[in-house]
Amino acid sequence: MIRGKVTIAEEICKGCELCITACPQESLGLSDKINLKGYRYAVLIQDNCTGCINCALVCPDAAITVYRQKKPVKGVGPQVQIAA
């Protein structure tokens, strides 16, 4: 499975829950904490995000940034991360 992850700008989020409805994996939920505006903001509640960007597309406040795991290049073998 392709793994993804999202970061949500907590102070921009207004807790409208549209991303929660849009997520096919049910990865998102509302936080227990509130932000400065007094809204409960969206957070990742499960580690099953696929990086499909549905949440980011419906976000009215452009608060969501999506990352996706790089696909391994075929025929190269496992990619080795070289520590800097």
Binding site: K14, C16, A62, T65, R68, Q81
Partner: protein, 258 residues
Amino acid sequence: MDLPPITNGFELVYQKPQTLTETPMHYCPGCGHGVVHRVLMEVIDEMGLQDRTIGVAPVGCSVFAYEYMNIDVQEAAHGRASAVATGIKRVLPDRVVFSYQGDGDLAAIGTAETIHTVNRGENILMLFINNGVYGMTGGQMAPTTLLGMKTTTSPYGRETSLAGYPLKITELLAQLPGSYYVTRQAAHTAAAVRKLKKAVQLSLQYQLLNKGTCFIEVVSNCPSGWKMTPTESNKWLEANMFPIYPLGDLKTPAQPMN
């Protein structure tokens, strides 16, 4: 916005376009305006038109659109965005010009300007956000309010005997020979947003080719005006707005109205 560093093996696939400013939007939670702003700015960013695009902001909820769009924006008097856009496009024909209006602005006070702009075939993009109420002033009845829909000025629901029928201005404009591309889209699901983005891309390409007026209606929600949660309002939108305002292209270059 402070982005976290890209961690090992992860690549960035989606972020806020740089054509949107860092100013947090003042819109109510779940409002469709934010999505349409972002889609429009994404397209302008991808087409590399940031330095030659001029927008015209309306009066209504999106009156502060210039705070969020990192492009040149001119504010217009109530309903006159298309007239101002006409002037800008005629003086500066090499610029990409769009007007951005709501239903109270475009379909009520600005009906004359709207119809005549499209009838003249001005080479601009007109974006029309239709949510069926005057959102900014507290959810009063608009020309596009559905029959039976409760607003603060139609507390028992809109009646035809008193307030007539919902104005389908997009169908009306599709009849005019000046319009080149007329479409009705939505922004409530990811699939709808993708389609909307394609429509905006097409419209701007047509404008660069000097084809004529492109008109995009976005059927949107108004959680505050409709007194619903954002999720509920999107369901209500699908159930009640779409039968009256069906989505799809009304006029395309391949299928002009007969």
